[in-house]
Amino acid sequence: MAAYDVLSIDGGLKLLPEIVLLAGILALFFITNLGDAKIRIPLTRLRIPALLGGNRFKWNSDPRIPGIVSVFTLIFAIGMLIQTLGDDCADIMKGFCSETTILTTTGKNPVHLLKLDSFSRLFELMFFLALLLVSAASLNRLQADSNPSNDDLEQLLDNRRQVDFYLLLLISGLGMTVVAMSMNLFVLFIGLELASLPIYVLVAFHKESKAGSEAGVKYFITGAISSAVGLYGMSLLYLWSGSLQLTVLEAAWASMDTPEALPLFGISLLLVGFGFKISSVPFHFVAPDAYSGASSPVAALLATASKTLGFIGLMRILMIVTLPETGETAVWMFAFGTLSVVTMTWGNLAALGSENPKRMLAYSSVAHAGYMMAALVAVAAWKSGSYTETNNNGLMAAELIIGAIIFHLFVLISFKIGAFMVISHLETEDDVTDMSSLHGLAKREPIIATSMFVFMLALAGVPPLAGFMSKFLMVTGIVQVASADVLVNNNVDLIPTILGMHWTFFLAIAIFINSAISLYYYLRIGVLMFFEESSTRLPLPKVSILRFVIFVCAIGTVFFGINSDWLVETVTNAASALFADS
């Protein structure tokens, strides 16, 4: 394991993807501001071009320039990411992995700041992919004239707003990568804020509409309060242990004999901050408001990348810091388990009664957060049961569950973004406020409708789509942890056998019951698209890039369902990297 100074050349080379992202941000600043302004050198008649300001040149006055810059920046960043993986990883075609590198602060006592390993690199890849899909899909989406006359201030402003959109996306991406890599809780939090603050603005980006600003305010207020509370919890942890390094906190937690009030209080306040990000109960009410007020690409970002941020935080806190010693029960286990069941049930029940497609997707994303929280609880159960005594591959079970969560977050990028893109495509025609927009879509756009149905079935977890694999892996992990005791006590009758299971077994059952409930509203979308009559038979406006993104998402959804070998290998690498330092 190599350690570099973060400001040294070696360390900088390791951070090439982030540097590319930063360069992209700067490029967005400059390229869109290049113009024919000239500076007259004083006392002469010589005027030299200043390049910035003035009227823009012809080539950079196309409003799509910022989007294109953003797309190429992200593609380049992904390329750099793969370049900097290192030699330890034998074959990337068999599974994505990376060598482990630690970047430290400069100075006499270097503090471990960032860690580059299979875990963080995979999450960077996921963030880049999500941002890439979103920015590609938004290329033609923001209304703008492709030939603005130079004297038209309105057009110019609109064009500037294109830059704002992509600038905020890329800055947010920079924050996300910091979250993925951080080894220090405070660095993680700075990354989280760097990622969230642009997203607050993106949610309120439709400031011309009442709904946009309202959604922005609601999302901002709740987000700011919860992150402030989370930061306060972090400061309590600092008061308790004197450091915010994850490894130090872990050691301090492990050396604690009886639960103390200060760290417990700190951890629970910290969980509030992350709970908002994953929109678990009691923060579930913001998600539908924010999603329906924001534009669909931004909502897609909220449902995937932003949720992933929260789960990285939860995994770091719960799996590294507070994972109990063998044979002990984690204090948070039962509360978190209950919360997960409430979250998934509430999300599904609310989605059942939802008449707005975006709100329905929002509630479904609440429910999915519940599934993943249940899986996290099961990891803790691995340590508490008699599992490790009978069978020493408990770590494997934990890796399987964490891997399943990462798998789910990864494939969410394909089908959740895909579903939002379909709605985005519908929005090119008219605002999508209720289900009637979807009526008869199959007759107007058979392929788009089929893709949407594929996304819905994947969300419901129907094989052989990607959503099934992730749910399957999650439940496999949970059952593996829960059923360990059954083999030991060889009961003869049925009821004692069931009761002999660890209580996390019922989390698996809860996931199943909820999948069955959720099927109703996912299928309903299909029924609406294929059965109801729409007022028009005309196809939707042709936006090729959006269609392309939808097809890519649909193919990804099917592909990762049928041939998930690569992804399973990848997420297992990531999960073992997470546990490697604990």
Binding site: M93, N391, N393, M396, E399, L400, E445, P446, I447, I448, L457, V462, P463, P464, F468, F472, L473, V475, T476, V479, Q480, S483, V486, L487, N490, N491, V492, D493, L494, P496, T497, I498, G500, A508, I509, F512, A516, L519, Y520, L523, R524, G526, V527, F530, F531, P539, K542, R547, F551, A554, I555, V558, F559, N563, S564, D565, W566, V568, E569, T572
Partner: protein
Amino acid sequence: MAENKTKLNDGMYVIGGLFIAISVLMFASPNMPSMENDWVTLPLIGLPILGSLLLMGFASAVPAWRKESISETIKYASLGIALIVLIITTLMMTDILMNVHWANITFNQYMYEVEYNWINSIGAEWHVGIDGLSMPMVWLTALLVPITIITTWNEKKPWYYHPLLILMGGCLIGVFVSLDFFMFYVFWELTLVPMFFLILNWGGKERKYAAQKFFIYTFTASILMLLGIITLYLLQDPSTANASITGRTFDMHDMIQNAQEQVILGNIWLGPGVQKLLFVLFMAGFLVKLPVVPFHTWLPDAHVQAPTGGSMLLAGVMLKMGAYGMFRIPISMFPYALVEFQMPLMIIGMISLFYGAWVCLGQTNLKRMVAYSSVSHMGIILLGIASLQPLGFAGAIFMMFAHGLISPMLFGVAGAFKHHYHTLEIGSMRGMAKHSPWLAGNMMFSWMGSLGLPLLAGFVAEVAVLIALWFEFGWWVIIPGITLAITAAYYLWSMQRTIFEGGENTELPKSLGDEKPRDIALSENIGLISLAILIVIFGIFPFIFFEMMSGYSSELIKQMLMDDIMRRW
């Protein structure tokens, strides 16, 4: 015109996307195995599924105003694919393709067996094979798909309908040949999707409700089965498969072998309590699919609303998935639990048989009537299983096959009746034979088959099951015997009224209006009569399949169940 261009592009995207997906799949699995001597993967599963996807992609690429012109092409292409599958399965069955003695293969031995790596990391494989249990089912599926296509040749929107039927057939064959739990579950759920669309697009008035109820009901039940699969998977020794990260495998063959070793060597793999738990979880999935009382309520709705072709495949093959699954998994793997649960199974079977027949008596809707008679027949299958006799098992398997021939014919007739008389109310007419002699003849014949008339296929199965019941339970056999006799008498009487009564004063259903009653079309007749001929053939020469079925059953009992049955005495 611009609009048409858009549509064409979309379809091209799909076809192109499929090719890209396939090539990426091939690229991503670096050592793609050679498919020599593999008569199952591509010919039986890949051909129908990929063929139907291509046909549907092609159909959606064609603009709406030109769709009519390609409908004939698509119909013949679908029929061609279905016939190719039928020919291959027939060659398999008749030992021509490879020299196979279906009746002599031992328990847990499979013909045409191939294994490919699929998802190595969790131990899931593409593992297919056929034995005496699955061969009849595969052949039945391959047979019913072309017959369904022919019978419902003139359905609306054929460019999607007929490809969906062969897609359905491919998925069903996938269920019957898979020897890997993961693959089994994937195909098990995959069958729901084409059926959902068949009901939704071509169904009756309440199709929306029926399609969703069908999907949700069976999906909910099968996720209980999935829980069972996962639990079973995890109860293996974690050093079973080195390639997977969990160290376990989904291989059905290996697991059945483990269960068998447990019986022979007495080493404990699955304890009694665990066996019971798994038995209950698996049976929950299968009993709903079968279906038995009290989980049967989805069936009448789905049947009544489904289009004719949909109900033919639904009743003919999809219900048999439940019975097939019972034989393949719980009976083969949890002998202790099966013997423990013998009485509950027998009682559920009795109730289904009796209740199905009883409700059937009160129905006036033809399709509903057939649906309840299916529930009743599924009860017979359960009774055959509960008898724990080789003869009872063989009878139950033969019942699966015979009912797979008879119920499509019943539904085909009901569909034709609906098509020509615009009603399903059976009591609304008198003297059908005078107006539509072919329809009347087919209807009469199919009901006789359903009642178990001697020399027809259903009779063999019923007699076998009843004899086995007599061996096992003694006088209990009176209940099913009497139920069968009474219902037979009632149907014959009611059919006779509808079809032959009236003489000169026939009565036509009101729904017909001023239309003149017609007889069925040639395509319908070809389909129905070929079914009728098969019913007679398998009634007179049941040994074509009965030998391999009884071979399988006696092997199963000898290898797995004998100890547990003896223990009970």
